[in-house]
Structure formats: C-alpha cells, structure tokens
C-alpha cells in the first residue's frame, strides 16, 4: 500500500497521533505554542473510528480533570496545554501521579524556550520530576506523533499518567509525516469504584506513593525508551554528547555541517524522567567528559550526576533562552576545542507587534489612558497585553491576575490615602481570560470592598491563539451549538452593582462611561465597577464585513504632532519624514475611523467608500 505522507505541523502531527491512538476524550485550553494540537483533533474528528469527545475547556485544570475521569472509565484520554497552563492544572496533576489512571492518560504540555510567546521558560520535564510523572521529549514532529502511542501504552502498562513535552520548535515546525490508520480499541466506559484509590485519604497514600516509586524504577528500564546511541569512530576518546528534544536535531545538523558526524559518541535521551540509573552509571564508567544539551533547565544533567558533565548546571551552556544552532556551535567549539565560530552579528530586533488596525481594544485602551492619565492599569494575558504600547497596561502576570492585582493595588493605596483617596485602578481583562480565572477574583474583589474599575474586553473570541470559541458564544469545539453562558449575569451574581456595556468604537460614550464608573467607585457605597467593552475581534471576517468601512485620509492641515502615531499606535499610521505629516497605509487601514477623534486639529477625515 502506498504510504500516506503529508506535510504536518508538529501540533497537527500530535493531534493526528491522538486520533490514531484511539483517544476518546480530548480537552484543552488554548495557549501558544500548544493551541493547534486540539484544533488538529477537531479538524480530523471525522476520521476517528470510535466516539470522540473534544472540548475547549474553560481552563487547563478543568481540561485535565475531564480527561482524568475519562481515563478512570478505561478510555484513552488526553489533556493539552502550554507550560504555564500546567501551573493552573498543577493541583490535580500532582495527585494523579499517586493515584494513577486506568485508560491511558497523556498530558501534552508544550514548553516555550526563548520564550517566544509566554511569561516564563519553565521546564515541564523538571515539573514532571517534582510530580514523579514519566515525560517524553520528542526531537521532531514525526517523533512527537510516534511518541503519542508510546505514551498511551506506557500509561496503560503501569496505570500511570504520562506526559509528552514538545517545545515551540516542535509544535510550530512542519515536516513530512507518515499517517497511519486509527486503531479500534472497542472500550466502553466502566468506572470501577475503589475509594482507597480514587478517593484516597492520607491513610492510603503511603502505599500509593510506594507503588508509584516502584513503577518509576521499572519504567526507567523500559527498553523502547532508552537513550538512542550513535557511536563515534574514536576521534574523541572518553568524551560524549548527550541531548534531547529539538536540541538533539540542532546538534545533529551542526555536527554534519562541521564534518563531525560519526566522530564522537552521541546519545539522544527520549525520556528525561525517570532516567535509567544504569545509563548514568554507564556514562560515568565510559566517559571522562560529557556535554549535556537540553532545554530549558538542567534536568538530564542533574539526573546524570556525572562529575565530568558540563551543561546548564556547570555554566558551560547558557542557562537562559533557546539553544539555537548558533548557541550550540559556540558551546561545542568550547567543549571539543574546535575553531571558534565567527562572532555572530549582534541580534537586532525587528518590528514589535501591535494591536491590529481597527482592533476594538486599541480604542478602549486609548479612552482609558486619556481618561485617567495617572491611573494604574493592571492587565492580563492575551492580544490586549499589547495595550502596553499605548501606555494603558502596567502589569501583566498570569491568567486572571489582573483583577486580584487591581484589588491589591487599591488596598495598598487606600490605606495611605488622605480621607481614603486613591488612584483610579482600571483593570483590563479579555473575555476568555475572565472565564478562565477572572470570576473568583471578581467575587473576591467585591467582598473585600475594593473600589476598582474592571473593563472586560469582550471581542467574542480567544483572539491571541487564533479564535477559539468562548462560553458566551454558545458554540462547542466541534462547531455544534451549546448553551450560552453570558458574562453579564455572572458579573451581577458576583455582587457587582455597577455594570454597563459599551462599544469602544463609540469614543464619546465610552469616555463618559469611564467617568461615571470612576464617580461610582468613589461614592460612599461604591465598590467594583464593571464595564463590558464589546466589539467583535477584527480578525473575524464577519465582524469586518458587518461594520461600516470608510475611506480614511489625512489632509494637509496635519501639524505633525505624532499623537496618532505614538499615543494611538495604529499600524496603518506612520510619519512621512520628508513632509513631517502623518500618513495612512491604505493596504493596512481597514477604514474603521477610530483614529479620527485622536487628532487634535481634525486632520483625519473620512468619506463613505
């Protein structure tokens, strides 16, 4: 039979792997670089040969718990998230290590060395070591797909959860990948009640912990998960290279380019934890010097405990950032005494990202910044983090943190203020982030009598990750209709008495609402004021086609004050250095006209198209 080989992104390969392995419950919360994994499952759901439940869960903890129960019934299940999502799911994740699973449970956690699109570069392999969970580290999209089946088999053989840890360069790489046929497992849900396990009280935990540790010892010996060895020709005696993940691929290409392939002993670690102690012993015996290359923390290096090992722990390898081929070249040159690479030209940053032309968030941020020049602006994770460019985002921490941080700012300032005076705190949080982790924070802010303005930036989508559905749309992951969970009643039920909704394109209306909200929080019986800033994401074609579009131009009267370019920061606006006037890039302008009120001399004009 002819092989079916397709060009697949790493995330698509992993999604395809889930379908082929007979996964029946797949749950995720979107987050770069993991998002396209569940999307790939959604796109391929028709090829599944058995029932398949797919969901965009409200957050990662929930995704994990849904998949966990699926596994309790004997079915193969998967939870998918980015590395910081695992922090959100940490509580059930840690306990699952002790209690174990029934049907295969694979948690796919995408790390982001660099980081490219995350708030840190934490290493899920180290997280797994602390949780005592086996973790696989693929070096290519094709290997990531193969490892899905391996991870399920391992999970079922020992009744333990396993983790696949791809990194950005696996997730967002494309490669020729061979497709297989989905397997038919013919399992029906069968939850075997066992309170000593599924509801284990402390009395049962030492035994479960003991069992886990015994399992880990055996898993470390699993034949098909031992490091892969490429023997050198003896040119570099008693020296070896050890690498895992994409770093292995970078190293292999570099060795080839430098003519060093097959010259030095080379190991690819497939399962960094639990690492076979015999492998560590063998390295101690066979080599005086070992270079360990891994992202992003020194997990293998720590577990090897080799006195001649150099790596991130020893300081021979940079402790931060990606191990790009150029970084590895320098490290390898130092380790093997090769000719030093030419000094790389200083890295230059390209153009910074900014909110899209016509983005409703820009209009909201501009109003907020103009209304409260001295305000404090906690914000959150999403496209709207880019409100930084407008000076309207002062803090960005983790999902949902902005509301609690806003409340904390209020408490700290309020206790110092004369007659209880305090700066206006305007929190901005996206709709998806609000559902993810904002609701408990809002309840808390209310009961702690905080006086802050919370602006929920409702663009009716999870925009940053490419537009996954949000609970108030009433659309499930597979596109089918589901119950609509609206924001307004949730806000009201949280005890908020001031709730208004406004389209930020209506600058006058939005400005006056901000003013009213500020008056409200300062009233004797004031509290948290919530404004829902509602306008669809401009990346959504139906939003674009559903709103009026004008021919927007800048006339001769422009005085070159740069306010529209600097303070409003629309990518379609720039300064013409020759004329010292602002100009509009008509390729990028979408004709929304939200820049018009920004000009102090009314030089931005619009006409019907």
């Amino acid at each position: 039979m002819k092989k079916n080989i397709q060009l697949l992104m790493g995330n698509e390969a992993i999604g395809q792997g889930l379908i082929e392995a007979g996964c029946q419950i797949a749950a995720a919360y979107p987050g770069t670089p993991s998002t396209e994994i569940l999307q790939a499952v959604i796109d391929r759901r028709e090829t599944a040969v058995e029932p398949l439940h797919i969901e965009w869960s409200v957050n990662e903890k929930i995704a994990f718990e849904v998949a966990l129960a699926g596994s309790y019934t004997g079915k193969r299940s998967a939870a998918v998230m980015k590395q910081v999502g695992l922090n959100v799911a940490a509580d059930p994740f840690m306990r699952t290590a002790y209690l174990g699973v029934k049907g295969g449970l694979v948690t796919i956690v995408a790390d982001d060395p660099g980081p490219h699109s995350s708030q840190n570069e934490q290493d899920t392999r180290l997280f797994c070591m602390q949780a005592r969970v086996p973790v696989l580290d693929p070096a290519s999209p094709a290997q990531a797909k193969e490892m899905i089946e391996t991870a399920f088999e391992l999970s079922e053989k020992y009744e333990v959860m396993t983790v696949l840890r791809p990194t950005t360069r696996i997730c967002h790489s494309r490669q020729n990948v061979e497709l297989g046929e989905p397997i038919k497992l013919e399992r029906t849900a069968d939850f075997e009640k066992d309170p000593t396990r599924w509801a284990a009280t402390p009395a049962f935990l030492p035994a479960l912990h003991r069992k886990l540790n015994a399992n880990l010892e055996q898993i470390a010996q699993e034949e098909n998960l031992q490091p892969l060895f490429s023997k050198g020709d003896g040119s570099y005696r008693r020296q070896a290279l050890v690498a895992s993940g994409i770093v292995y691929g970078n190293l292999a290409d570099l060795l080839e380019e430098l003519g060093l392939s097959g010259k030095i002993d080379l190991y690819q670690v497939l399962m960094p934890y639990p690492l076979n102690p015999q492998f560590a012993d063998q390295l101690k015996e066979d080599y005086d010097r070992v270079l360990v290359l891994e992202e992003t923390y020194p997990v293998i290096e720590l577990l090897l405990g080799h006195s001649g090992a150099v790596g991130k722990q020893s300081g021979a390898v940079p402790k931060e950032g990606e191990l790009t081929p150029d970084v590895i070249h320098q490290v390898l040159a130092d380790f093997l005494g090769l000719q030093q690479p030419e000094e790389a030209p200083a890295e230059r940053r390209g153009q910074r990202p900014s909110l899209c032309p016509g983005c409703p968030h820009r209009a909201a941020f501009y109003s907020i910044k103009q209304s409260f020049p001295d305000g404090i602006f906690p914000s959150d994770i999403g496209c709207y983090t880019l409100g930084m460019n407008l000076g309207a985002v002062n803090t960005v921490h983790c999902m949902g943190a902005c509301i609690s941080q806003g409340a904390g700012f209020y408490q700290a300032y309020h206790q110092d203020g004369q007659d209880g005076d305090f700066p206006t705190v305007v929190v901005t949080i996206g709709d998806s982030t609000f559902f993810h982790a904002g609701i408990p924070a809002l309840v808390n802010a209310v009961i702690q009598k905080s006086r802050i303005i919370v602006v929920i930036l409702d663009n009716a989508t999870t925009a940053m990750t490419g537009g996954q559905p949000v609970p108030h749309l009433g659309i499930a992951a597979d596109g089918s209709p589901t119950k609509v969970v609206e924001i307004e009643p949730l806000v009201k039920a949280s005890g908020v008495d001031f709730l208004e909704v406004c389209d930020p394109y209506d600058k006058e209306g939005f400005d006056s609402l901000l003013k009213r909200a500020d008056d409200y929080i300062r009233q004797p019986d004031g509290g948290v004021a919530v404004i829902i800033s509602r306008h669809g994401c401009i990346m959504d074609r139906s939003v674009r086609s559903g709103q009026e579009s004008f021919q927007v131009d800048i006339d001769e009267s422009c005085i070159g004050c740069k306010k529209c370019v600097v303070a409003f920061e629309c990518p379609a606006l720039s300064m013409d250095n020759e004329t010292n006037k602002a100009v509009i890039d008509q390729d990028r302008c979408i004709g929304c006209g939200t820049c018009i009120p920004v000009c102090p001399v009314n030089s931005i004009v619009k006409e019907a198209k």
Binding site: P33, S140, H172, S173, R174, N250, H329, Q351
Partner: protein, 166 residues
C-alpha cells in the same frame, strides 16, 4: 540536494502561507523538509521569520551564514535577518526602491490584483523565474492548488504568474 531558505516579513503578510507552499512542493517531490515558523503574539504585525530546510536535515533552524535563499516580504527586515544568509546567498526582496538583492514591487503588483497580501506569491514567482529554488513553476502551481482555498486559487495563481513573468 540540500537547500536552506528563509522567509521574512511581518505578521499578516502571508509568510506562513508562502512557507507552506515551498514545503508542500518538497513533500510532493518526496524530499524531506523541515520548517520553523513564528506563531503567537508576533503575528500581530510584528517581525516574523520562517526557516525551511530541504533535504536530509534533523532540525528546521538555520545557523548564521547558512541560508541559500532569502525571501523578504518586508524590506525593513533586511538588517534583522541578513545575518542568516550565506555570502553567496540569493536575496529576493519585496521593495519599491532599488538596492541590494533582486527586487520587485510585489506589494504594488499585488495591489493591482486587488489585494496587497498576494505579494507573497508575486515574490515566489520571481524566485522561480530566477531559478533559485529547488522546484519549477509547474510544481509550484500544483502546491498552490493544493493549499489555497478553492475560491482563491485562481487569484493566487495569477499573483504567482505576475512574479514569474515579471
């Protein structure tokens, strides 16, 4: 055959589509290929870079000074990504002004077709005209047909041919 290619631009210019077309041709020809792409926040109008390695490679990332071909959709990225190019590498640049490398006003041509985003395929057409890439026009058109949404196929091919016959 081995070839290392970079595609550089800003978010929204179709760098990802151009990357996929090139990689798809490799798959169609049965040649191993690896790409690395920029996703996430940078796609919001920031500088984005794709690297493509065709042939027997293990990683998609390109070391400084190793790229054979650079396709630049955004001229201002030249100083940012030029360091990846070989000294003898070929640069193809979407630009109105004269300067380094082979240049074409791909955005202007694409605008003439009604959509500036088509500049990606105009530039690809020029690359094929210059016989710099590992495939020919026919193979390229096949990949465009495979990847473009049905209603945009003809428009995409038209843009590609504008570059090819420029």
């Amino acid at each position: 055959m081995k070839q290392q290619i970079i595609v550089s631009g800003i978010g929204g210019q179709g760098v990802l589509f151009l990357t996929r077309v090139i990689a798809q041709v490799a798959v169609d020809k049965g040649i191993p290929v690896l790409t690395a792409e920029t996703h996430g926040m940078a796609q919001r109008g920031g500088t984005v870079l794709s690297t493509i390695k065709v042939g027997d490679f293990a990683s998609p990332l390109i070391r400084a000074g190793q790229a054979d071909i650079g396709l630049l959709l955004w001229e201002a990225n030249l100083p940012v990504h030029q360091g990846l190019m070989k000294d003898q590498g070929t640069l193809l640049i979407n630009a109105e002004q004269d300067g380094e490398g082979e240049r074409i006003d791909a955005s202007g041509i694409a605008r003439g077709l009604g959509n500036a985003v088509l500049s990606n395929l105009v530039l690809l057409g020029l690359a094929i005209k210059q016989q710099t890439l590992f495939f020919n026009a026919e193979e390229c058109e096949q990949a465009i047909r495979t990847l473009a949404p049905a209603k945009f196929v003809e428009q995409n091919l038209e843009a590609f041919r504008k570059g090819l016959h420029s």
